[in-house]
């Protein structure tokens, strides 16, 4: 009799445990799948300077908002649950207000966990994203005007953005094309903020969206030659160029 009672109690215990385990398992599964969604940062949201790459950032940021508080220009915000950014994490939208590139980087100093990497001590070395002149059809400089605003506001003028002269086939004038250099651009977003168009033609994008990557086996001949300091292959015969004969 007592054994039966014990067995029944054991069965009940196992059922109860299974019930809780199943319920919590379902909750965990749902949350886990949601995590995958929430980890996809929309391209318009830019993380503060020094932010670790997105997946690590979401494991390191404890959503305290200290960076938001210490930003002297109040450009940072914590994501609300209805936004497509992981709830409670800091971000800014360059078009609304770009990073003002404080030299002492107070947001990074404020971060208690190092989700914003404390090794970043020079703001010019930050890589929040990469500016891209995405629309060549509406950019005023491409239309032959000398807008140049993105170039003028760039904190690293003539380094991160240069103006490259090009022939304008529509007229006898030149075009000056704003050209971003990824080795210098911090992704602060000043160019996107300042773009005079209704919708910016130059935008800060996450670097992994903006950058291509060469195959590891590629070698740039001119760089290799610079390294060696002499022609890579000696004794190449320079054949005369064949020029079509001019019609008579």
């Amino acid at each position: 009799m007592e054994d039966e009672g014990k067995a029944a109690a054991r069965r009940q215990f196992l059922f109860d445990t299974a019930k809780v385990a199943c319920g919590v398992g379902m909750l965990g599964l749902g949350l886990g799948l949601y995590t995958r969604h929430a980890g996809a940062l929309p391209p318009t949201a830019v993380r503060p300077p020094g932010a670790r790459p997105e997946p690590q950032f979401l494991g390191a940021c404890i959503r305290c908002g200290m960076c938001v508080r210490d930003c002297p220009y109040h450009i940072l915000d914590l994501a609300k649950p209805e936004q497509p950014i992981a709830a409670g994490t800091p971000y800014f939208v360059a078009r609304d207000g770009p990073c003002e590139m404080c030299e002492d980087i107070p947001c990074v100093k404020a971060c208690p966990t190092g989700a914003l990497d404390h090794k970043l001590t020079e703001i010019n070395k930050s890589r929040m994203g990469l500016a891209m002149l995405v629309d060549h059809e509406t950019c005023l400089n491409f239309l032959g005007l000398r807008c140049d605003v993105c170039y003028r506001v760039c904190p690293l003028i003539d380094k991160a953005i240069t103006l490259e002269q090009q022939h304008n086939p529509r007229s006898k004038h030149a075009m000056f094309i704003p050209t971003v250099h990824s080795d210098q651009c911090t992704g602060c977003g000043k160019c996107e903020h300042a773009c005079v168009l209704e919708t910016a033609a130059i935008r800060v994008l996450p670097r992994q969206l903006a950058k291509g990557e060469l195959g590891g086996h590629y070698r740039l001949g001119w760089e290799e030659q610079k390294k060696v300091g002499k022609p890579l292959v000696e004794g190449i015969i320079d054949l005369p160029d064949r020029v079509p004969e001019s019609p008579k």
Binding site: L58, G59, I62, G65, M66, R69, P81, T113, H118
Partner: protein, 305 residues
């Protein structure tokens, strides 16, 4: 549920003394919130941040060890300030009773207490059966999820940080999650969130497993079985071993880590049975059956003298 819990105590001691710990608790909850809000609302930056991490007067870091633990599980090595802050909080809640966090600090407590009050008022009957241990399963799940996904997944939905962060930094749709918690407690199960599910409370109960500060049924011999304490207790299971354990050789101190040290039982008892004490005050207490080992309850004191 007993409707007029505490009425006898009000007659015996007056309203104020029957609500002193409750009032103190509300004052503490709102004072904590006020400290965080003085900066963003009035420009007095006493505390920056929120309950996950805050910097007081620019020098004292305080961090939630539970969130930090998830971050560690996710594979991140935090900077010094977060670690110092978490250590201070761990020591503080170890001393004050782990779940004192729930009763004296957590903003969701106000929400679920309101739900509980309304539940009694509306006479909502029926309650889904939930195991009190569910919270530990959820606690384990959140840590496992951090480990698997490499992100602090629970913070995406955690009502505790959602509410606190929302009040300070802007709520957005966070209200929905808070409202869900309220409705859950109101209609689905009595004290569902704080009493059964919340992994934050589960974490702090582990922190306070051996806390020195406890509630004790010091004058349990005077108990007249009015059951008012059971009616108001957010974790009614914790009372019985201490209150009725004299015959089983169990001391009067409530040793269960589920006890939130809210002090409401002290408030409503017309016989002044309960009082704050240390866990060590079990020693030297005259026991009914001293020889019998206290194996009858999981909440038995560690050592009987």
């Amino acid at each position: 549920m007993k409707q007029d819990a505490g009425a006898e105590a009000v007659r015996a001691r007056g309203w104020l003394r029957t609500h002193q710990w409750l009032l103190a608790r509300r004052a503490s909850q709102f004072a904590v919130l006020a400290l965080f809000l003085a900066g963003p609302w009035f420009g007095y930056w006493l505390v920056k941040g929120n309950l996950n991490y805050g910097l007081t007067l620019g020098v004292l870091p305080l961090a939630d060890p539970y969130v930090l633990m998830q971050s560690l599980a996710a594979g991140h090595r935090p900077e010094r300030n977060a670690l110092i802050g978490a250590a201070i909080i761990l020591v503080a809640y170890f001393l004050a009773g782990g779940r004192a966090y729930c009763a004296w600090v957590c903003p969701v407590n106000v929400v679920t207490d309101a739900a509980h009050w309304l539940r009694a008022r509306l006479g909502v009957r029926g309650s889904a059966r939930l195991s009190h241990a569910t919270r530990y399963w959820i606690l384990a799940m959140t840590l496992a999820l951090a480990l698997i996904t490499g992100t602090i997944a629970w913070e995406l939905v955690n009502p505790v940080s959602m509410l606190h962060r929302g009040i300070i930094f802007g709520m957005g749709a966070g209200w929905i999650i808070v409202a869900m918690t309220f409705l859950l407690d109101l209609f689905v199960a009595e004290r569902a969130w704080c009493g059964h599910l919340c992994p934050v409370g589960a974490f702090y109960s582990v922190v306070g497993k051996f806390s020195p500060l406890r509630v004790s049924a010091v004058r349990r011999a005077k108990c007249n079985d009015c059951a008012d304490c059971y009616a108001v207790c957010p974790e009614p299971l914790v009372i019985k071993p201490a209150l009725k354990g004299a015959d089983h050789g169990i001391g009067p101190v409530i040793l269960s880590p589920h006890c939130t040290n809210c002090g409401r039982c002290i408030d409503v008892c017309s016989k002044d049975v309960f009082a704050f004490a240390t866990r060590f005050s079990n020693r030297g207490e005259p026991q009914a059956n001293d020889q019998r080992p206290a194996t009858r309850s999981a909440e038995a004191p560690v050592q009987l003298s």
